[in-house]
Symmetry: C2
Subunit: 339 residues, 2 copies
């Protein structure tokens, strides 16, 4: 390969740049004629601590180049996880990107956006040549930050980041003749749910129920008066009939569940008033348990964990309805069920 002669195409260059994970920023300025401009950029980088300098790059072909070049100030907004739509809006060529947004005026009238992870107001100190881009270096003169989970960009997609956990094995285990170990995803899911359930059980409002009865209680609280068959379909996989029967009997013996017949003759089960009250108390206790877990794990990692579990559930959906969704064709609702 000859030095100085690129041996790759621009697609390969873009893909390689995408391997470097970044946050997402929106950078704003005020034109001399008063127009507010803003662009989405991930070319942000911190430069210097003393003086506090940061930089970012803008394409020479950008329509906003003249305004940024002429502006004494600009503001950099580090976007939070909830601002994906805002990122898309400022990445496209909209007429007025600020329409409908709550915008404050900063130094030199620079538009300031709300609800970001962090925001810096900068005074332009250098504009450097950078190929088809201009590198803007600004001195940070004001900053604010929040605890909001930052939005991340990696390999061309929005992402969330979470703290890398220690490399220590959870359990020391080497099973001869198998590469099965504690890093098995099924084990991690099982154990995480086990620990969540163990904590739930510490609350008296939940301890009263077996796992399956609690699941049945929550399911009926969301959608009361269901057929036992449809419950078995959505709640359990294999041992459905026996497990459903046991869980139904458990709630019935406790005086929380009743049986009715739908207009179409289908046998329905549902929580009575006492059962619904107990269900809401159990759900409140569950929310409190979740809050304690989120506290332990930290808000950012909890957000990232929920995000990934949702992604996993989406990607591996076996086509089994979620338990508290009424099945299509299932005798529906209180109207038929109530006497």
């Amino acid at each position: 390969m000859d030095a100085g002669q690129a041996s790759f195409d621009s697609g390969a260059f873009r893909r390689t740049m995408g391997m470097f994970t970044t946050g997402v920023t929106i950078i704003t300025a005020r034109a001399r004629d008063g127009e507010r401009i803003g662009v989405t950029a991930n070319s942000f980088s911190s430069v210097s601590l003393d003086p506090p300098l940061v930089l970012w790059s803008l394409a020479k072909s950008a329509r906003s180049l003249d305004v940024f070049t002429g502006a004494d100030h600009f503001a950099i907004h580090i976007l939070s996880a909830g601002q994906e739509d805002l990122s898309n809006r400022f990445a496209s060529r909209g007429e007025d990107k600020f329409a409908g947004l709550a915008v404050d005026d900063g130094l030199g009238g620079t538009p300031l956006l709300a609800d970001c992870s962090a925001r810096m107001q900068c005074r332009t100190v250098h504009r450097y040549e950078g190929g088809d881009h201009i590198i803007f270096v600004g001195e940070v003169v004001d900053l604010v930050s929040s605890d909001d989970t930052p939005l991340v960009f990696q390999a061309g997609k929005y992402a969330l980041a979470a703290r890398k956990s220690s490399g220590e094995p959870l359990v020391a285990s080497a099973l001869v003749g198998s590469d099965f170990n504690e890093d098995f995803l099924g084990y991690l899911l099982w154990r995480a749910r086990f620990q969540f359930a163990a904590q739930l059980k510490k609350d008296a409002a939940i301890r009263a129920f077996t796992d399956n009865a609690f699941l049945l209680l929550v399911t009926l609280a969301h959608n009361n008066w269901r057929s036992a068959d449809s419950l078995a379909l959505t709640m359990f996989i294999d041992e459905d009939v026996a497990d459903t029967t046991r869980a139904l009997a458990e709630l019935e013996v406790m005086g929380l569940l009743e049986r009715r017949t739908a207009e179409n003759g289908e046998a329905l089960v549902g929580l009575n008033d006492v059962g619904m009250e107990r269900a809401l108390a159990a759900l409140a206790a569950a929310k409190a348990t979740e809050a304690a877990f989120i506290d332990k794990l930290g808000l950012w990692d909890s957000t990232a964990l929920k995000n990934l579990l949702r992604g996993f559930i989406d990607a591996t959906d076996p086509g089994v309805p979620h338990p508290w969704v009424r099945l299509e064709g299932e005798a529906s609702g209180v109207a038929q069920a109530l006497d």
Copy 2:
């Protein structure tokens, strides 16, 4: 606030910079005297597509400043998730940071490291003033990349990023009088494990067992000849005795489990040869299922999910031993148990 007058201290500036997520790079060069140098930096940014330019910043106080200033070439390595130790090594002031590493020679003798997510060789084209740092702009003349999960840095800690899942609710559910919803962490854990288990059950080697019997089988495969009491303690939370009894009976009826007495008189259960064979077949099937799931979710997100579940399990450990770890004081091992 006066423009141009910083209203914050350097700690606040650093913390705000940390809100901008980055990858982690190691940047290397060869001194004129032949010495190899390298530093860890997250101030990397892409600049221009045509020509392909990138930049990074180095403190003027850095010992390696003169070498980088005098070098015609440098190499940027975007680190992968497994290179945290390498990052730490090049971030510290070691005598020979390259000791023991496999290092190739690049353009101008630039040291090239292996196993990165991506690597670029650059020709220095600009050196710009940047406060207490120098901004190096390089033209990329060669690049290689891999599929390895990139290492991430956020808020001063190593992290992993995962694709942001759609904001669509998994199930539409609004429960009157409760803020409990499908985003409840306990539900997400339950549902993810449910879907994993549903897929496991499709394999004949696993379908033969109830959930609890499968768990017991795996547990004994890792650590055979345990007391039923200790199994109940680690495998189940509440309905321990009945569940353990059922699972033990299930394996016994299938002719896979036997009972023995330890030297100290404790009653032990264990898999016989047939049971162990069935366990290894089930574990192999489980690994195959996991591989299919990882394929669906993608390697990066799977790595991030495992990382977060490990973090969750670490952070919320209730002190209950993992099932396949022998309890302290538990009659131990095959020696006593075997006749």
